[in-house]
């Protein structure tokens, strides 16, 4: 009986250790690791998407108000700013998760 009990304890310890390992290996972030090309492409997609959205809004507003590129220029500038904001947020999230991991 004692033998069974100790085997069960050993098994539950093993399961706990595996569960811990699994939890620590699961990453919340889906961004690629920093320092490789993937990270650069990731930031680029964040920047580029904001720029394109700004461009589209500018073109749309120009069409509605029949202005010649006024909104386009304004919203391209906003798009660039939003692009930098996206990149900054990605960087911030990455650092936060890195610190959290180190804290664990």
């Amino acid at each position: 009986m004692d033998n069974d009990g100790s085997r069960l304890d050993a098994l539950s310890e093993k399961i706990d250790a595996l569960q811990k390992e699994q939890q620590s290996s699961q990453r919340k972030d889906v961004a690629p690791d920093k320092g490789n090309v993937g990270w650069g492409m990731y930031l680029l997609s964040q920047f580029f998407s904001a720029l394109v959205v700004g461009l589209c809004i500018g073109l749309f507003l120009d069409k509605i108000f029949s202005t010649r590129g006024v909104f386009l220029i304004i919203f391209i500038i906003f798009g660039v700013m939003a692009g930098f904001l996206n990149c900054y947020r990605c960087e911030k999230l990455y650092n936060k998760e890195k610190n959290d991991k180190q804290g664990d």
Binding site: Q26, K28, V30, Y42, S45, Q46, F48, S49, A50, V52, V53, G54, I57, F75, F78, G79, M81, A82, G83, L85, N86, R89
Partner: protein
């Protein structure tokens, strides 16, 4: 060598026009139906017996379920459970689209921004609807971060709106670009197999490895898409 872009061309199978709107059943539609039917048939047969000790197919179905459930729990928490059917459907649709696309002579519908963008925009709309449902018109305050001076609002609000709207776009670009680049590369290298004649076995061996990588990327992209959908859900549920 054949045009490597030709594989992404949408061709109608059954032409149908209703009131000037093209509603043709295309090769893209066909493979979407194939993906949905594959998922339905597999899940139906895999979970039919519901045995305590699962067989191979039931085990695989359960692993898929646990995998998506894990993503949802990790990124949204227990409140996200009621959105599981949506997230699971998105995952299966994208994953099957990517994986079916790796089979020669098939069509990768996830290489089209209209398909992926549609799902991404749907996730964003869900975020907006949930946010408004929870906070009413106060949801609009998310575009003015806490502590921002009112005088800065005319600059901050458009930037925040653009940043918010760019999320599905960035998601779409990443998935579409990954799928397109992979498939174009496969097609270009496949072209070398014939043109290199006796040495054609070198690109052939290379292509075998690349197909494996492509299958891995197919799954990884579906995972990324699902995680980001969950992040939108999390924002809608917790941060508004």
């Amino acid at each position: 060598m054949e045009d490597p872009i030709e594989q992404f061309e949408v061709k109608p199978i059954w032409e149908l026009k209703v009131g000037g709107v093209d509603l043709s059943f295309t090769n893209s539609s066909l493979f979407m139906v194939v993906a949905v039917v594959t998922a339905l048939v597999f899940l139906y047969f895999a979970t039919r017996k519901r045995s305590v000790i699962p067989g191979t197919s039931q085990s695989f179905a359960e692993t898929l379920y646990n995998f998506v459930d894990g993503i949802l729990m990790e990124n949204v928490g227990p409140e996200g459970k009621k959105y599981f059917p949506f997230v699971f459907s998105v995952f299966l649709f994208v994953a099957l689209g990517n994986i079916i696309g790796c089979i020669p002579y098939t069509f990768t519908y996830t290489s089209h921004a209209s398909v992926v963008g549609g799902i991404a925009v749907f996730s964003l709309l869900m975020n907006i609807v949930l946010g408004i449902k929870k906070k009413g018109m106060g949801w609009l305050r998310t575009f003015l971060p806490h502590g921002t001076p009112v005088i800065a609002a005319p600059i901050i609000v458009p930037i925040e709106i653009i940043s918010f709207l760019s999320k599905p776009f960035s998601l779409t670009v990443r998935l579409v670009a990954n799928m397109m680049v992979g498939h174009i590369m496969l097609k270009v290298i496949a072209g070398f197999v014939v043109s290199l004649k006796a040495f054609g076995f070198v690109p052939l061996a290379f292509i075998c490895i690349l197909v494996l990588f492509e299958a891995g990327i197919a799954f990884l992209q579906a995972y990324i898409f699902t995680v980001l959908t969950c992040i939108y859900l999390n924002e809608a549920i917790h941060e508004h």
